[in-house]
Amino acid sequence: MNKKKTLKKLSQLKIGESGTIDSFTDKEMSLKLLEMGCTPGETVTLDRIAPMGDPIAIKVSGYLLSLRKEEASTVIVSILNNN
């Protein structure tokens, strides 16, 4: 457990970067996200960003989910830095 854990917003992930969901900052938004399988501890990967920079598409629970950056910024993910 010496690996460094960094917390950032889901909206700040780079394409191809993964993290595990840590917590939510917006109660109401979290309900919808939980229902769609974005539960704490679940791994998410940023799949792509729409051409105009928003929305984004993430891989979660084995499928592709798109959400607006504003919505993604309410999700805190923890990233394991291996190096």
Binding site: E28, K32, L34, M36, T39, A50, A57, L64, S66, R68
Partner: protein
């Protein structure tokens, strides 16, 4: 179940009620089609704009199953209309559609998220069958799902199917006839989350599951099975008030608990061969279709193709339909005795029906395209790449297709807004789409532009008539976008707008689904909006062919005098009679009484009459102008143009159709809501007269003031 038995058996009944539920994109509709074949009906759930599909199938010689396809939802949380309808049907035994057996359709290739809804429905403790759809995709990946283990863990029957390949359909039908296990244990312990509130609620009202009781904590005001038990509802309200639950917290805890159990079940039952999946196909295709250049280029080409098809290709069948109705009305005129009834039949009812059926080609074509785009998964990508642009105007990525289709015709365009899930964004799209210049405005534009720019002057590349036409289309688009922006600010959203949306894997379209969608949409339009259109058409016929007192007879008599018969040919007299009759009719009176109101726009009473009659459809303007100006050939806009050109205003001794009047009229036609078919469809799509009325008023006001300003600038 009340008997508290482990199995239920419905095979003794001669007709079974079956409901299909499942996530969007789970292949629920495909399974529904496979189960019911051609025995289908489309309607609405009572009082809401949620599509309801029903159908039936014979299970064996004696048993028939009646299926209802419930809206696709991700959960039973009462967040949207779709979810409320699903919950109400499943939980209220008094509901007309309450099923004996519920078939839950789950996408096997996306099992984890699909099991969420499955777990909620199992917790309702109703008899269910889990149809594990798209099992062929799972097998193709080399993955396996232990269905026996899954069945054991969930406590329900599980059947692997591939609805697209029609595999497993018979097994489902047979399973419906056999004794079914009723879910016995709770998926998660809701008492841990909501404490003794569940017991308190269940002491007040008989419910067959903890989850039904738990659900009422969130959703008491919406629960209809309490409608006839106000004293029980009051008791429950008192319980909930005392408990003072944070319902958001309850829901959040419930979701987390469910996924904990689901993760364990998936780990036990799903065996993945490799981590690398062939969804790289979807990934690769997304690389192109959501690319910042190719993505938009491809979308533009698709839009152009759709537009061309509904604009130009639909023209031919539309002409055939109109031709057919001309033949029918000629036949009716010739073979029925002349009189009021024949007149009503030919000029009121048959004309009205013609005005309805003529929309069919455009509706069918547009919905064929939309069904293909939805079925392949491309529509979700359109939303993805257009969302940011459209959001600024209170619209949705999915508003693009309705708006562009609106250039051909607002009727199918408005019907296509159902794919927009946010209520507010959908209403805004419906409200502003008719501002896009539709094809019915084209004959009006052509006629009026030819008055503004007499000859088709061409200087270099410029064709002035074409330039003005393009400006009119542009003005329509700008008005639509601006109106959307205003609505975005003033409309209050019923629910929070999310863009949290699944991007489904790409699949080839199914032609059966496409033809089904076309057929359903055409049918809904013909029978729902059609009634209103025919009714208004009859009213308009009455207004333009009847007059108070015996004015009509007086006109007929005047032209039968020998003096007149000598002076004019039969054709000339007929033209003059129609012209004078229209002026004397109620529509004429209405047009004249409109004059003070429309005079500030530069319009006289003759234009007033055309404004009244073109409410049937904008292009009627041309025909009305022809009648009023006694043009001898109604179909030839050249003669109408000449007549209008030569018309002299008796008060000013100047031409009536000056530049200012013509442009003012052009602007009026660009903005005003003069289309009963659109209003009928808006009513049908919003289930309320409030929206068509508001639309009529806002577009009318916009048209009036814009024309007023234009007229006074150019005068």
């Amino acid at each position: 179940m009340e008997e508290n038995q482990a199995f239920v058996n419905f095979s003794e009944k001669s007709s079974l009620k079956i409901a299909l539920v499942g996530n969007p994109n789970s292949g629920k509709s495909t399974l529904f089609n496979a189960l019911t074949g051609l025995h289908q009906k489309t309607g609405n759930f009572p009082g809401v704009t949620v599509d309801k599909k029903t159908g039936f199938a014979k299970l064996n010689a004696t048993v028939t199953a009646d299926f209802v396809d419930l809206p696709g939802t991700y959960s039973l949380y009462p967040k949207s209309l779709d979810e409320s309808v699903t919950f109400e049907v499943l939980c209220n035994p008094a509901n007309k559609d309450h099923p004996d057996i519920t078939i839950i359709v789950a996408d096997a290739s996306n099992l984890k998220r699909n099991l969420f809804l499955v777990s909620q429905i199992i917790d309702l403790k109703i008899p269910v069958i889990l149809a594990l759809n798209m099992i062929d995709l799972v097998e193709k990946e080399g993955d396996t799902i232990d269905t026996a283990r899954l069945s054991e863990r969930l406590g329900v029957r599980v059947i692997a199917v591939s609805a697209r390949k029609k595999e497993g359909i018979e097994e489902i039908k047979q399973a419906l006839l056999q004794p079914l296990p009723v879910p016995q244990y709770d998926f998660i312990d809701l008492r841990k989350i909501a404490g003794d509130t569940i017991d308190k609620i269940r002491a007040v009202i008989h419910l067959n599951s903890d989850f039904a009781a738990f659900h009422s904590i969130h959703n008491l005001p919406e629960i209809h099975y309490l409608d006839d038990k106000p004293e029980k509802k009051a008791k429950m309200e008192a319980i909930l008030k005392a408990a003072a639950h944070d319902t958001n917290k309850l829901q959040s805890l419930e979701s987390v608990e469910r996924y904990k159990v689901i993760n364990r079940i998936v780990a036990e039952c799903v065996f993945e061969k490799t981590e690398v999946k062939s969804e790289t196909f979807t990934h690769k295709l997304d690389g192109i279709l959501t690319h910042r250049i190719y993505g938009y280029a491809i979308f533009l080409i698709i839009l152009f193709f759709i537009f061309q098809t509904i604009f130009f290709l639909a023209k031919f069948p539309m002409e055939w339909i109109e031709g057919l109705f001309v033949i029918i009305s000629q036949w009716a005129t010739n073979s029925l005795p002349a009189g009021e009834f024949t007149n009503l039949l030919v000029n009121g009812i048959i004309a009205g029906l013609s005005g309805v059926v003529v929309f069919v080609p455009q509706i069918a074509l547009l919905f064929a395209f939309i069904a293909i785009l939805e079925d392949t998964g491309y529509m979700a990508r359109v939303s993805f790449i257009m969302d940011k642009m459209m959001r600024r105007f209170g619209l949705n990525g999915r508003s693009v297709i309705p708006l562009v289709s609106g250039v051909a015709c607002a009727v199918p365009a408005i019907m296509s807004t159902r794919t927009i899930s946010s209520w507010k964004e959908r209403i805004i799209t419906i409200m502003v789409t008719p501002l896009m210049s539709c094809s019915a405005r084209l004959p009006v534009y052509t006629l009026l532009i030819s008055l503004v720019v007499p000859q088709s002057k061409a200087e270099g590349f410029f064709n002035y008539q074409g330039l003005i036409l393009m400006c009119l289309y542009l003005i329509g688009f700008i008005a639509a976008i601006s109106a959307a922006f205003v609505f975005k600010i003033i409309l209050k959203a019923k629910e929070k707008s999310y863009f949290i949306m699944e991007l489904p894997v790409y699949r080839s379209p199914q032609w059966k689904t496409v033809t089904r969608v076309m057929f359903d949409k055409v049918k809904v339009f013909l029978f729902d909006a059609g009634k209103i259109i025919v009714a208004i058409s009859v009213i308009l016929w009455f207004l333009s062919s009847h007059a108070p007192g015996n004015r009509m007879e007086t006109i007929e008599k005047k032209y039968t005098s020998t003096e007149m018969t000598l002076k004019y040919s039969d054709a000339e007299r007929n033209v003059k009679i129609s012209s004078e009759k229209l002026e004397a009719s109620y529509a004429g009176i209405l047009g004249k009484s409109l004059e003070p109101a429309i005079a500030p726009l530069g319009f006289d009473w003759k234009i007033g009459i055309a404004l009244v009659t073109s409410f049937a459809a904008r292009e009627v303007f041309v025909g009305t102008m022809a009648t009023i100006y006694s043009a001898d050939n109604k179909d030839n806009s050249q003669t109408v143009r000449d007549k209008m050109q030569n018309e002299i205003n008796t008060k000013t001794n100047l031409p009536t159709f000056t530049m200012a009047v013509s442009v003012s009229l052009l602007i009026f036609y660009a903005f005003a809501m003069q289309c009963m078919s659109t209003l009928a469809v808006v009513y049908r799509e919003t289930k309320s007269w409030k929206w068509p009325a508001l639309q009529f008023l806002f577009m009318g006001t916009l048209a009036y003031f814009s024309s007023f300003i234009v007229y006074h600038i150019l005068k």
